[in-house]
């Protein structure tokens, strides 16, 4: 049994919070290129509607407001963006904060950074198998067997996806450009350090 963590079930909606600041909808994430197979095409569609780019692609301020920087598609929190300590929020009702890139999040769980989902072998998921990917989503654990995957990743929703859909997502992720970007490890909340 996993330790109960303050999971967030609607985390992908946070992208909307950033969006609202800029006013106006973000452009639909552009495809990195033609998907390689019908399965990968299906995965591309799923990645779009599951909101993966909301958190795993760094956002930048565009001419019409914040938008995902698709030149860094799904490469996670930028290694070069060193985050200062998160602002203290007191007793609420504010509960969490996010980086302007929408790739770093501070809340009761500590600080989490969105992962590099590109096929880079050393810093992304280039060495994963589809079984690893499916197990990660099903278990809510890093690499399918490690530490808990932290909020706002909505894996408790995604675990309801079929194996077929998850394989399609993984197949698509294998087709996007590999980007070398070493995402920082999570930071535990102060009270547990």
């Amino acid at each position: 049994m996993r330790r109960p963590l303050p999971l967030i079930v609607g985390g992908v909606g946070l992208g909307l919070a950033v969006l609202a600041l800029g006013g106006g909808p973000a452009p639909a994430p552009a495809a990195a290129g033609p998907a390689a197979s019908p399965e990968a095409e299906r995965g591309q569609y799923l990645v779009r509607i599951m909101g993966c780019n909301d958190c795993h692609t760094p956002w930048v301020m565009g001419s019409k407001g914040p938008e995902p920087d698709m030149t860094r598609q799904l490469s996670g929190h930028p290694e070069s963006l060193l985050m200062p300590p998160a602002p203290a929020l007191g007793q609420g009702p504010w509960a969490w904060t996010a980086a302007v890139t929408n790739t770093a999040f501070a809340g009761p769980w500590g600080v989490s950074f969105s992962a590099n989902l590109t096929p880079d072998a050393e810093t992304g998921i280039g060495k994963w198998t589809d079984a690893t990917f499916i197990q990660a989503i099903r278990s809510g654990r890093h690499e399918g067997q490690g530490r808990p995957i932290l909020p706002p990743m909505p894996w408790p929703q995604y675990l309801n996806a079929t194996d077929q859909d998850l394989r399609a997502v993984f197949a698509y992720l294998r087709t996007i450009p590999a980007i070398k970007n070493r995402v920082p490890q999570p930071i535990d909340p102060p009270e547990s350090q």
Binding site: R3, P6, I8, V9, V12, L19, P93, P156, L159, D163
Partner: protein, 398 residues
């Protein structure tokens, strides 16, 4: 995109209250056990055998409630740490069957094999886990929650049961989910982790943390060989029982502990083989080969960053420097993001931490790095060779 907005209030509330609604995993909602295809970690569809609802129906007990004499007790020499639980184990091999040990580090059990492990605290039974081989490459994992009257145990839900008993101030033991069972047991070619050549060796380690006395009639390598339950016959295993390859008693105990508690995932055959951290003792390895842990962990830069330690000075195991050893740091941690093992335990194993600390501290220090010298952590006169691994820009994958 606007349709996502209503999700935010739920997200915030869940974060504050820590009461996330975890959607039910596919599978039976009330009681669950999952079957996997060996080595693949892939759930097989319905049609596979299902675990009975009651432990009493699994074959562990005879009609009078005693352990069925066809089930053999056993006690691994390096027990898995389970927050101080008193554990009792049995195995059932179908009559006339043998375990194929031709792959000495990945035994193949006959179909119908069942293993049980009972967990108790303070004399009260809390859970009993069962692993059941239901097909040539299929296993069922289940755990049963004991009733308050201790008369029987009921199959736990597939998602497990959280916080069933206090094991330390503020710490509670949870019954594992099926995905957690698979996280370890499907990460090794062995599947069964406590019934191996090393664990059943008759050359038992007297310094193994939490070592248990062998129960009467316990299965060991010699007893299994004598009973003809292993094939092919390996007389050498009785003559020269497997043991950790070192003459240092502390190192032997530490490496055995790491093999049993970490090697299920950190090995060279499972899903995490890509990490190049192998803590699993290979009985089939050459007698003169170094222990895999020594070859892959000692003075190896890791990806994990310890608070307060410059990345260039951090090692998985830093010889002579427990304070710079991420392996030890993570063994001591029970913070979700850093604890090792990452599941199955809520309390650090102090005895094992002390053992591993002594083992690391006794190692001759590795040559100092320039960063260590600059930080004043080693005398200026220490050698400072240039090594690719000294650079924080060149970490290995951990």
């Amino acid at each position: 995109m606007p349709s996502k907005l209503p999700l935010l209030p739920c997200a915030i509330l869940c974060a504050i209250l820590g009461t996330a609604t975890r959607a039910a995993a596919p599978g039976p909602p009330a009681g669950g056990a999952a079957a996997i295809a060996s080595g693949s970690g892939t759930a097989i569809a319905s049609g596979g055998a299902a675990a009975p609802r009651l432990l009493s129906a699994t074959g562990l007990y005879a009609a009078d409630g005693s352990i069925d004499p066809r089930n053999m007790p056993f006690s691994p020499q390096y027990p898995l740490w389970s927050d101080g639980a008193d554990k009792t184990r049995w195995i059932h091999l179908p009559a006339g069957t043998k375990i194929d040990i031709s792959a000495i580090d990945a035994w193949r059990f006959p179909v119908g094999t069942k293993l049980w492990k009972e967990f108790a605290w303070g004399g009260r039974k809390v859970e009993t886990r069962m692993i059941w081989k239901t097909g040539p490459d299929a296993w069922v994992f289940a755990t049963y929650a004991w009733s308050d009257d201790q008369k029987d145990a009921v199959l736990a839900p597939e998602a497990g049961i959280p916080d069933v008993i206090a094991v330390a101030p503020g710490k509670r033991h949870s019954l594992p989910s099926v995905t957690d069972c698979k996280a370890c047991h499907a990460s090794s070619a062995a599947i069964v982790l406590g019934f191996t050549a090393l664990q059943l060796s008759d050359d038992r380690d007297p310094l193994a943390p939490h070592a248990e006395p062998l129960p009467p009639g316990a299965a060991t390598l010699r007893s299994l060989l004598a009973a003809g339950r292993l094939t092919p016959q390996r007389a050498d295993l009785a003559l020269r029982p497997p043991r950790i390859r070192t003459s240092d008693p502390t190192a032997r105990a530490a490496l055995g502990y790491l093999s049993a508690n970490c090697g299920g995932c950190h090995n060279r055959t499972g899903a995490l083989a890509r990490l190049d951290l192998d803590l699993f003792h290979d009985v089939g390895g050459s007698a003169t080969a170094p222990e895999p842990a020594l070859a892959t962990a000692i003075d190896t830069p890791g990806r994990y960053r310890m608070p307060g330690i410059p990345p260039a000075e951090s090692r998985v195991v830093a010889p002579g420097a427990p304070e710079r050893s991420t392996l030890l740091y993570r063994m001591q941690s029970r913070r979700p993001s850093s604890q090792m093992p990452p599941l199955g335990t809520a309390v650090a194993d102090r005895e094992a931490v002390d053992l591993v600390r002594r083992w690391i501290a006794a190692m001759p220090p590795a040559p100092a790095t320039p960063a260590a010298i600059a930080a004043g952590r080693v005398p200026p006169g220490s050698p400072a060779p240039e090594r690719a691994g000294d650079s924080p820009a060149a970490p290995t994958s951990r």
